[in-house]
Structure formats: structure tokens, C-alpha cells
């Protein structure tokens, strides 16, 4: 007997609001999750607009006037635009090239290459930036010293404390985003069209240029926008590499406005253009990706053949590892060296070797233990509750449980357009005054991280649900289980590895977060990223290196542990 014929067992999602509301006892859970989500997103944004537009006398545009006539602020905007544009271009070049080589050629060692791209993704950009100050500071940087020793030159090869230096480092840690987008597309494009081109006489490079590239174009543009957005919202890297050269970006300028006496109103007004810019870009991206439906990108469509690199295999492989050594090997090596040295710029000889940085960081320096505790607590709590909320929301939108449910998608993805520091400005305004003072506790950070990580959790959960047919769950409901129990006993176990992936993405996102934490922490609620930034401002190189190494080690352990637990290549699903 079909379920829809008996009132009690109807698939309520398809029969409307009122039936669901009255007949499903789990209703409060779904609507509660929805309200919580909307609340999370609207509160900080509302606070920003309010703070930027209202003062004691009422509505005013003075703040905007002040921000957009100040030469320094305008310079920061200009710097940010130039930097982000170049980061976008570079990240697309690196990311697309690597993705193409990994998916469409017979390049060897693809698994290690993917793992290293993943490692670049996991490395917090501020840590990469810090490592690069040790590698390519114009005078003491290890690479510049090597260059001088080899060539006998007086000049530096590369000064990392410049705009190109900053662009370079930011691109190194933005390209993995592009890589995963392009790799996905490249794997889906079938070889049929390419075969056609080759039959018509084009060689393989010409085919790649005239057929594969245009097919991948929307993804390339999407990748550019993603990398552009990513660099727009970075705080740590520009603060570490830009400020020493007298270079402000929008994020560092917003952060500077929090110095005493704080100008929250200006920070809010200055956040709005950043917000509008990211919104516009996401709209553009949607348009581009939406308009060009890939008729050729059909799930399991035609075959794809690999391009043979022939004799070029070895040089290409070396080139790929060269790029990955810039984002992974060299920075990790210098961090480890600095952690173990008395003087980081000296060779690591026996005289220069010390474990003092470790003993100081772990046993003498009080912040370390508190910060590690806070970081893990936040990571675990945010990842767990975030996955739960994302799962509930994705379930609501996917099963379309009540009218308007699909609009929740918009709210769940909204933080994509909210740079971390802008979110923090909003949360700071809301939660440092009654009725709800969360500032001073780690829970203001929890709210920030939960909001910020919602898009990743949601999209992961959503794509997982899409792959699970509702009929098993319907069966469970027919035999009397309610929606929550069905979700818990039937659907969630089926979605297990997808949800574990969501959990680990949120966890990693939380422990490496700096741009929101830097405004929201109080002395008693420091997290590791903030401690590292504080130490950087004082120039405590050895201790930073220790904490940075620890942070990376933990991230990798979590990924490995989760993969082992889930029994498959969880993280690869994103690539």
C-alpha cells in the first residue's frame, strides 16, 4: 500500500505545511534549527549596518564619508584590490595547471601530489607567511643567503616584505581551492570532444587549448573568484608580510580600528564595501557557472583518456614538486629548524641546537596550555554542533519539509560572502553589550566559527543526502519511527562518511582560524592562532615555530584519524 494513501504515513514534505505542523512531533526540531540559522546570519550583519549608519543623533552617512575620503583607507582598498586580483590570477594558473596534470595526463605519483595539495590547504596562510619571512627576508632569509653564497651577489633574490612577496605567499595557500574546483571539472569532461578535435587533425596540445580549456573556462573563472575572495578576507598573511613594509589592506585596517580608542563605527562602515564586493563576486560567479551548463559534463559519460607526457614526465614531475615545495616542504623545514635552533638564522649545528623553545612553549609559557585547550574545545564543539546543525538544515532543504525551506540554503551559504573579520566586527558589536555578553568567553568565538563554517558543513551534508534515496527512510517511517529517529538510525549511518568529512573540515577550519578570532578573543579566551599572532608581534620566532609545528601535526593527525575511522579517503571527496 503506497504511503500516501493513509493519512498518518503521508510523506508530509509533499503535502504541505499544516499537515506537517500538526502531525509531526519532531516539528520543533526542524523549525528550531531553521530559526537558529537565520538568527546566526542576520544578527551580525544587522549590527554592522546599524553601527555604520546610526549614531546618537540618528541616521547618518558621516562614517561612510569619513571612510571614503580618508587617503589611508582608500589606499588600503586599492592595495587589497591589486593583491586579490593577482592572487586570483596566480592561484588559477598554479591550481589549474596542477589539476590538469593530475587528472588528464599520465603524470606519475598522483596520490602524493594530491596529498601535498591537501597539505597546502591545511596550512594556515598566516603560518605560511611567517615561515616565508624566515625563508625570503631580503637579508637573513635562508633562500636569499643561499642565493648570495652561490652567486656571490650582494643583492637579494627576493624580498618577501613587498607587495609581490605578499601576493606570492597568498597565492601559494589559495591555489588548493582552485585545484579542487578544476580537478572536479577535468575529471568529468569526457574525451569525446577531444577525440573529435584530434580526428580533425589537431595535436594534443592544440586540443587542450581549443577544446578542454574552453570547457573548463567557467570553472577557471569560478576558481579565480574563489581565490580572489579568499585573499580579500585574509588577515594574518597581510599583517605579517604587508605591515612591515608599510602596506595596509582592508582587513588589517579594520583590525587597526579596534585599537584604543576603538572606532567600531568606522570599522563597520569600512566592512560594508568589503561585504558588498564579495556579494557581487558571488553573484557573478553564480551567473557564469549557472549559464554555461556543461552538457558535456555528464556524470559518468564518455571515456577520458590521459595525455601522454612522454619524455616530459620527469621534468614536469620535478616542476610540480618544485611548486609544492614552495607551499609545503620549504616552509615546514624552516619552521622545524627554527623550533630547534637558538638562533634561527644560523645553521643548525650542535652548538645552535636547543629544546628550550619546546620546554618554554609547553611548560613555562602559561598561554600555551590554555590556548591549546580552548582551541581543541572550540574545534570539537564547533565541528560537532556545526555538523549537527548543517545536517538538520540540509535535511530540511533536501526533503523540503516546510514552505520556504529552500530559502534556508541561502542562509546556510551566506557566510561565504562574509569575510571572517567582517563577521567578527558584527559579532563584537552584538555580544559585548547586554543582553548577551559573550565577549570574554570562548563562546563568542564558537558563534563566529559556527557561522563561518556553516557553508562547508552544509554543502557537504547536502551533497551526501542527495546521494541517498529517501525510500529506506520512508520504510522506517511506515513502520512507525518518527522523522528524527529515522534520520538518526537510517539516513545518518548511510551518510556517515560524508558527515565525518563535514566534521573534519569544520574542525580544521576552526583550529586555523585567525581573522575572526583576532577581534573576538579576550585574554582568557585565546586560541592558538591568536597566541601565534601575538608572539609574532613580539618577534618570538622559536616559540611560534614550536606552536606552528604542533598545529600542523594535529591537523594532519585529525585528517588521518578521521580517514581511518571512516574507512575511506574522506578528504579526497572534496577534490
Amino acid at each position: 500500500m503506497p504511503a500516501s494513501q493513509t493519512g498518518t504515513f503521508r510523506r508530509v514534505g509533499y503535502t504541505g505545511w499544516s499537515a506537517f505542523r500538526f502531525k509531526d512531533p519532531t516539528f520543533p526540531v526542524w523549525i528550531g534549527a531553521a530559526i537558529l540559522l537565520v538568527f546566526l546570519m542576520l544578527l551580525p550583519l544587522g549590527a554592522i549596518f546599524r553601527a555604520s549608519l546610526w549614531d546618537d543623533t540618528g541616521l547618518t552617512l558621516n562614517r561612510y564619508f569619513e571612510v571614503f575620503t580618508n587617503e589611508q583607507f582608500l589606499k588600503a582598498i586599492w592595495n587589497t584590490l591589486i593583491i586579490s586580483t593577482w592572487v586570483g590570477v596566480l592561484a588559477v594558473m598554479i591550481g589549474a595547471l596542477l589539476a590538469f596534470l593530475v587528472t588528464r595526463t599520465d603524470l606519475p605519483w598522483k596520490k602524493p601530489i594530491r596529498a601535498l595539495v591537501m597539505a597546502s590547504f591545511v596550512t594556515p596562510p598566516f603560518l605560511g607567511a611567517f615561515a616565508w619571512t624566515l625563508l625570503a627576508g631580503p637579508n637573513a632569509g635562508a633562500l636569499n643567503k643561499l642565493y648570495r653564497a652561490v652567486t656571490g651577489s650582494e643583492e637579494a633574490l627576493f624580498n618577501i616584505f613587498t607587495m609581490p612577496g605578499l601576493i606570492f605567499v597568498m597565492a601559494l595557500y589559495s591555489f588548493p581551492f582552485v585545484f579542487s574546483m578544476i580537478a572536479n571539472v577535468c575529471e568529468l569532461i569526457s574525451s569525446d570532444l577531444e577525440d573529435a578535435a584530434e580526428i580533425l587533425g589537431a595535436n594534443k596540445w592544440r586540443t587542450a587549448w581549443t577544446v578542454t580549456l574552453p570547457l573548463a573556462m567557467p570553472a577557471l573563472i569560478g576558481g579565480f573568484i574563489l581565490a580572489f575572495l579568499q585573499s580579500l578576507s585574509l588577515f594574518g598573511a597581510p599583517a605579517i608580510l604587508g605591515l612591515p613594509a608599510g602596506l595596509h589592506t582592508i582587513t588589517t585596517q579594520i583590525w587597526a580600528l579596534f585599537q584604543y580608542p576603538p572606532r567600531l563605527d568606522l570599522a563597520a562602515a569600512f566592512s560594508v564595501p568589503l561585504l558588498l564586493a564579495t556579494m557581487a563576486l558571488i553573484a557573478v560567479q553564480k551567473k557564469i557557472l549557472g549559464r554555461k551548463g556543461y552538457s558535456t559534463v555528464g556524470g559518468k559519460g564518455g571515456q577520458k583518456r590521459l595525455i601522454h607526457l612522454g619524455l616530459g614526465r620527469v621534468p614536469v614531475l620535478l616542476f610540480v614538486f618544485g611548486i609544492l615545495s614552495l607551499s609545503v616542504f620549504l616552509p615546514y623545514w624552516i619552521l622545524l629548524k627554527a623550533a630547534l635552533s637558538k638562533a634561527w638564522a644560523m645553521p643548525l649545528t650542535w652548538d645552535n641546537f636547543t629544546l628550550h623553545n619546546f620546554s618554554f612553549a609547553f611548560f613555562e609559557y602559561g598561554d600555551t596550555q590554555r590556548a591549546i585547550y580552548n582551541t581543541f574545545k572550540l574545534g570539537i564543539v564547533t565541528a560537532t554542533l556545526g555538523t549537527l546543525l548543517a545536517t538538520l538544515i540540509a535535511y530540511v532543504t533536501h526533503r523540503n519539509l516546510f514552505r520556504g525551506a529552500r530559502y534556508l540554503t541561502f542562509f546556510a551559504l551566506a557566510p561565504l560572502v562574509i569575510p571572517g573579520i567582517v563577521l567578527a566586527v558584527g559579532l563584537f558589536i552584538v555580544y559585548t553589550r547586554p543582553p548577551l555578553v559573550l565577549y570574554g568567553t570562548i563562546w563568542i568565538l564558537f558563534v563566529a566559527f559556527l557561522t563561518k563554517e556553516m557553508p562547508i558543513g552544509f554543502s557537504q551534508a547536502e551533497s551526501t543526502f542527495k546521494s541517498i534515496h529517501p525510500e529506506l527512510e520512508d520504510a522506517s517511517r511506515i513502520i512507525g519511527a518518527n522523522r528524527l529517529i529515522s534520520l538518526k538510525d537510517i539516513t545518518a549511518p548511510l551518510a556517515r562518511s560524508g558527515l565525518i568529512a563535514a566534521w573534519s573540515f569544520i574542525f580544521i577550519g576552526v583550529i586555523r582560524e585567525l581573522s575572526a578570532a583576532i577581534l573576538l578573543f579576550a585574554p582568557s579566551s585565546k586560541v592558538v592562532s591568536v597566541v601565534i599572532f601575538d608572539l609574532k608581534e613580539e618577534g618570538q620566532v622559536g616559540v611560534i615555530a614550536v606552536l606552528g609545528t604542533l598545529m600542523l601535526a594535529v591537523s594532519f593527525l585529525v585528517i588521518l584519524g578521521v580517514q581511518w575511522f571512516a574507512g575511506r579517503d574522506v578528504v579526497a571527496t572534496r577534490e
Binding site: 589611508q72 627576508g137 631580503p138 637579508n139 637573513a140 632569509g141 616584505f161 604587508g242 605591515l243 612591515p244 613594509a245 608599510g246 602596506l247 595596509h248 588589517t252 587597526a256 579596534f258 585599537q259 584604543y260 580608542p261 576603538p262 637558538k342 638562533a343 634561527w344 638564522a345 618554554f360 613555562e364 609559557y365 602559561g366 598561554d367 559585548t432 553589550r433 547586554p434 555578553v437 565577549y439 570574554g440 579576550a522 585574554p523 582568557s524 601575538d534 608572539l535 608581534e537 613580539e538 618577534g539 618570538q540 620566532v541 616559540v543
Partner: protein, 340 residues
């Protein structure tokens, strides 16, 4: 027999330990133990402030010192942010910008407390109203890396730094972060005017935040000349075997006195008082001089032989009130001149 002897020794020891402790002190220690903790917001260099916290914890077992180290202006920012949100978390504030304390006192955010023995300190170490006292002092000096620059070529005066030959070779710390540099900038602006910094900025300086950071930058050779920076941290870095030479310019050296005060809303007021008494004791002040390379206001403290005596130097001082009044101006102009 042996047992009795041992008892006697223990008793004598207890009497000797207890003898300098008055009844009043004992009451304070007991009250502090009950609170169990003191939260210290400090701008003293991380290794130094951590060391002092450990001295205290060893002496007064059971009272934890929670150290929150940051630059002076950041310490003030955090303290004010907490206060604005109604959070009472900080017990003791300590920065190198005396102007911060004028501000905090005038806003009624400090507790009036006079530790024993400070009456004998020089005037520059004492707030006349009795809310804050200088727990340490240092100088802001020039330093260079002798592996890169010979003694003959090294800059010797503040004006030497304006020479274009140093373009791209110097590092400065930031008054928007460091109280030492705030004091330094005010002292030199009063001596030479803003023109000095306008000309200095033409030499394309590497900008760091903390007054302690230039020591590492100079020692590594990243920039061989530091145009300012805390003398005690240069001295400590030098003592660790790093290539650093300190210059005390003849025209005058900015003296930076770093006050300490108890917050009015301190959640652990007794522990805060005990800690304040502790850092002003002769024992601690001598430790600051011996181990941390600092100067102090304590008249009986002696200094390492390889450090100049304060009275041998021409000192440039900055008035706390003026520091407070010109704080915003100095941050703004410095940022305009140096770009960040």
C-alpha cells in the same frame, strides 16, 4: 638526640623565615592564598614576565600568576574592551606607556595602593596621586650588528640614522603597539620635531611592532641597524651570544619608566597587592636588574658592570600627562609617515 637536633634546626629555620614577615603581611598572604590567583596584564617581554611569574609562584606556593603579555597599547585595548563589556578579569596592569595610567586613573579604573619602599624611589617613578609606580625602567637605544657593520661605520647619533647610506638597512618598532616606542617618539619629537621622523621614514624602514622585536631582527642580520628598541632586550639578546652592539647616543637617550597599578575592579585584590609588594621588594628589583637587564627605581639595586649607569647618560624623559594627551597624534603621524 638526633631527632631533637633536627627539630631544633627546623624550628630555628621557621623562625628565621618567618621573622621578616609582619602580622599584616601574614594576613595579606593568607587572603591572597584564598584567592589563589592573580591576573597580570603586562607589556614586559614574554621571557621576562614569565620568569617573574615563576619567581612569585615559587615564593608563594598556591597562588597562580596568569600572565597576559602584549604590547602596551594592546594591553590597554584589551583592558578597555573587557571593562566596556563589564568583564572584571584583570588584576594588575603594567605597560611602558605612562600615559595609559593617567588615562586609567582619570577614568577611575585604578585602585589606590602604595607598595612598601617606593617612597625612596626617584620622582619619575611615582604618581603624585598615589595610583601607580614605576616597577622598571629601560632606555630606547640604537643598536647594530657588528658582523655586518664595522664599529667605525656604525651610526652613533640619532641624526646619523638620517644618512641615506642606511636606506633599506634599518628596523623600527611601532608606537601604536609599544609604549617604549611611544615614549621614544615623543622624546625625539620634543628634541628634534616631526621633521626628524619625516626624514627617517625616507630611509625605507622595516616596521615591526614590539620594541623587543628589533633585537632579533638586528641579530639575524635581517636589518643590521635598529633605530630604536628596548635596551634591556637588546642587552639580553647580546648576552645570549648574538651579534649586537648597543649605542647610547650622546645627545640623549629616552628613558622609559613602566608603571604598574592594580585595577579598581580587580577580582583578586589581595593577591594583586601581594604581587605588587613582591615586584617592588628589593629582592625582585635586584632580579630585574641582574637577570633581565632592566633599570629600576630602587635606590639600593646594583647593576651589571657592563651596563652604563643611568647618571652617566644624558636622559630624555617624557611626561606621563603629555604622553596621554599626544597618544592619538603620535600614532596617527607615525602611521602616516611610515605607511602602517
Amino acid at each position: 638526640m638526633k631527632k631533637v637536633g633536627l627539630c631544633f634546626v627546623m624550628l630555628a629555620g621557621a623562625v628565621m623565615l618567618a621573622s621578616p614577615v609582619t602580622a599584616q603581611d601574614a594576613a595579606l598572604i593568607q587572603a591572597a592564598r584564598k584567592e589563589g590567583k592573580v591576573v597580570w596584564h603586562t607589556s614586559l617581554a614574554l621571557p621576562s614576565s614569565t620568569a617573574i611569574a615563576h619567581y612569585f609562584q615559587n615564593k608563594y606556593k598556591g597562588i597562580e600568576v596568569e600572565v597576559h603579555r602584549n604590547g602596551s597599547q594592546r594591553v590597554l585595548q584589551r583592558f578597555m574592551q573587557e571593562a566596556a563589556a563589564g568583564i572584571k578579569n584583570a588584576d594588575i596592569v603594567h605597560t611602558s606607556d605612562a600615559g595609559n595610567f593617567e588615562l586609567l586613573r582619570d577614568k577611575g579604573m585604578l585602585l589606590k595602593f602604595t607598595p612598601q619602599g617606593v617612597a625612596a624611589f626617584p620622582d619619575g617613578f611615582k604618581d603624585k596621586a598615589g595610583f601607580y609606580y614605576g616597577m622598571r625602567a629601560t632606555l630606547s637605544v640604537i643598536a647594530y650588528n657588528p658582523k655586518v657593520i664595522s664599529e667605525k661605520d656604525a651610526p652613533k647619533t640619532w641624526k646619523d640614522l638620517l644618512n641615506p647610506r642606511w636606506s633599506g638597512k634599518m628596523v623600527t618598532a611601532h608606537p601604536g603597539y609599544s609604549g617604549i616606542i611611544m615614549t621614544h617618539v615623543l622624546a625625539l619629537v620634543n628634541a628634534y620635531g616631526w621633521d626628524y621622523f619625516r626624514d627617517l621614514a625616507k630611509n625605507k624602514l622595516h616596521i615591526v611592532q614590539s620594541a623587543n622585536d628589533p633585537a632579533g631582527v638586528v641579530a639575524s642580520g635581517e636589518r643590521p641597524v635598529g633605530v630604536n628598541g628596548s635596551e634591556y632586550f637588546y642587552y639580553k639578546t647580546l648576552k645570549q651570544g648574538n651579534p649586537i652592539k648597543i649605542i647610547y647616543p650622546k645627545e640623549g637617550v629616552p628613558l622609559v619608566v613602566s608603571p604598574v597599578a592594580i585595577a579598581k575592579d580587580a577580582p583578586h585584590p589581595n593577591a594583586a597587592k601581594l604581587f605588587t609588594e613582591f615586584i617592588f621588594s628589593k629582592e625582585s628589583q635586584q632580579l630585574l636588574a641582574d637577570k633581565e637587564g632592566l633599570y629600576t627605581g630602587h635606590p639600593e639595586v646594583t647593576y651589571p658592570a657592563d651596563k652604563p649607569k643611568l647618571k652617566e647618560l644624558k636622559l630624555l624623559t617624557a611626561d606621563a600627562d603629555e604622553l596621554e594627551k599626544r597618544n592619538a597624534e603620535i600614532k596617527k603621524r607615525f602611521t602616516e609617515l611610515f605607511g602602517a
